[in-house]
């Protein structure tokens, strides 16, 4: 008779073994390669479009849109600090709007995700409100809020709130009901249950909702900053258009894209940090 000793340590389960670093490096290199190709193609198309503008006598005045003048203007406004002032004002408004959207949207999402009655009652009103463009509230916001800043923050919050509400509710509905039984059995109640079980359980959905909300908010920001204010990236675009500085205008557009990409990347990193689905 033979006896097999089965170890009860990390080596007992092959899943516990570290994944080969070489495979990770290859995947990383492939991803970086694709990104470089994508950026190269985009720059190439932009460069061709710039050449076409300069070559066309009717459009030569718009030559500032080409990569050369744009990147030069971008360097100038970044070096002078002007870009950072404008970006700071915009980021403050987006941060405040998103903060309000989270503060209101997460509890609302938990309510409609946790209560069938609340979900049924809120379904039609929320779907109706969701379908209204946030910018449609612009005249109302101007009347209601005492400052332009207040109106813009409201518009951003109105844009960002719905993805957060629905993602939170969706996350809550996916929670295994047995998790609540186990937690109650171990003494979990009220806020402790929310903090230790519910929030980590819905973290991935919630952050995905915030990511979507941020995307919408960043899009709404520019037209919202066309309202009365004299700061921010939206205002800067309008100002550059009025002064016919197309190179500065395009530089601001590029800056908006880059900042949006960085913000999205930060949220994506947070989603990766807090995700727990084994299939991810």
């Amino acid at each position: 008779m033979t006896t097999t000793v089965i170890p009860l340590g990390p080596s007992a389960n092959p899943d516990l073994a570290p994944s080969p670093p070489r495979r990770q490096m290859v995947a990383l290199a492939r991803g970086a390669g694709f990104a470089v190709v994508g950026i190269g193609l985009t720059l190439g198309l932009w460069w061709l479009a710039g050449l076409w503008l300069v070559a066309n006598p009717n459009l030569v005045a718009f030559g500032g849109f080409a990569p050369g003048p744009t990147l030069s203007a971008l360097w100038q406004i970044a070096q002078s600090g002007w870009l950072w002032n404008a970006a700071g004002a915009s980021l403050y408004r987006v941060g405040a709007g998103l903060g309000w959207a989270i503060a209101v949207g997460v509890p609302l999402g938990i309510l409609i995700g946790g209560s069938r009655a609340a979900a049924a009652v809120s379904h039609l009103p929320f779907q109706f409100l969701r379908m209204i463009s946030p910018l449609a509230w612009m005249p109302v916001a101007v009347i209601v809020f005492a400052t332009w800043n207040g109106a813009i923050i409201f518009l951003i919050a109105a844009a960002a709130i719905w993805p957060i509400v629905f993602a939170t509710a969706n996350g809550l509905r996916k929670i295994d009901p047995h998790w609540f039984t186990v937690a109650r059995n171990l003494g979990g109640r009220g806020f402790a249950l929310l903090r230790v079980i519910v929030l980590p359980a819905i973290a991935q959905d919630l952050l995905t909702g915030i990511r979507l909300g941020l995307g919408v908010a960043w899009i709404v920001l520019v037209p919202a900053e066309f309202l009365g204010v004299t700061s921010g990236l939206g205002f800067a675009i309008n100002d550059a258009r009025d002064t016919l500085e197309y190179d500065r205008l395009t530089a601001i557009v590029i800056a908006i894209g880059v900042i949006g990409l960085v913000l999205d990347g930060c949220l994506l990193a947070m989603i990766r940090r807090y995700r727990w689905h084994s299939s991810d």
Binding site: P10, N13, H178, W276
Partner: protein, 265 residues
């Protein structure tokens, strides 16, 4: 740590429960002395788990009450914990965080690390404290669930078919581990199972629940002189007796037939 704990004395009086119009339990009276290892057996859907959940305070009975050490059970408590059929671990937690969960709810987190270390050693998972629970096998996950149930130092351990989803070898190992730990810690244990062999291996006393509605139809003490409870020849008489209480024909682990007869031994 937990080795000096006192076992709980449990009294169930006139307990009945209905799920809307469907009666689940009827007239259950039970007295479980401190330190006893009781198994509740019966067919699936017979109300065994409902009884266990009422004992744990997770379900309020329609009639009657449960007292643990003289205190009427009105809800869950860290003094009596349930180990469920599924480990139901939280997938974002490490093994250590899972074991410390009850202590975290009780604001006793400072003691968590020391208690977790000792319990993980007790259940044979030392060295895996910082591993995510999703990386563990089914048997290892149930060991974590067992350690989690023991972390709040309960005096009564309630087991709701905790081995039924495991393969035979893992089930065997875990049954031995639970039996050893319950004995070492001097806990009172209530095990719900539909596996007669498991009941005989782990319990000092076996209560048979008849179905629709669930009533106690037999209450047997397991012969304490049984030397090896895994010896199929040694346990055959008791096993046959249990099967006969159900009017069962099969001795191969299949479910017995539902013709319960009141019996006490």
């Amino acid at each position: 740590m937990v080795s000096n704990m006192n076992a709980s004395h449990v009294t169930v009086s006139g307990l009945s429960h209905r799920y809307r119009a469907t009666p689940a339990l009827d007239g259950i009276d039970l007295d479980i002395p401190a330190g006893q290892r009781l198994a509740i057996v019966g067919r699936s859907g017979g109300g065994k788990s409902t009884l266990l959940h009422i004992l744990a305070g997770l379900i309020r009975p329609t009639a009657g009450h449960v007292q643990i050490d003289g205190e009427t059970v009105s809800g869950p408590s860290p003094r009596w914990n349930v180990m469920f059929q599924q480990a139901s671990l939280y997938p974002w937690m490490s093994v250590r965080q899972s074991v410390e969960l009850g202590l975290r709810f009780l604001n006793r987190r400072r003691q968590g690390d020391a208690i977790a270390e000792r319990l993980l050693d007790l259940v044979g998972l030392d060295g895996l404290a910082d591993v995510n629970v999703q990386k563990l096998s089914g048997g290892q996950q149930q060991r974590v669930a067992l350690a989690r149930s023991l972390a709040t130092e309960p005096t009564l351990l309630l087991l709701d078919e905790p081995f039924s989803s495991l393969d035979a070898l893992t089930r065997h190992d875990l049954q031995d581990a639970v039996g050893r730990i319950v004995s070492d810690l001097g806990l009172t244990m209530v095990l719900v199972t539909h596996d007669l062999d498991e009941a005989i291996v782990l319990a000092d006393r076996i209560v048979v629940i008849g179905e629709q509605p669930g009533r106690i139809v037999a209450d047997l003490l397991v012969d304490p002189t049984l030397s090896d409870r895994r010896d199929t020849h040694a346990i055959a008489p008791l096993r046959d007796k249990l099967l006969s209480l159900f009017g069962g024909q099969s001795a191969g682990g299949g479910e017995p037939h539902p013709h319960p007869a009141r019996h006490a031994a």
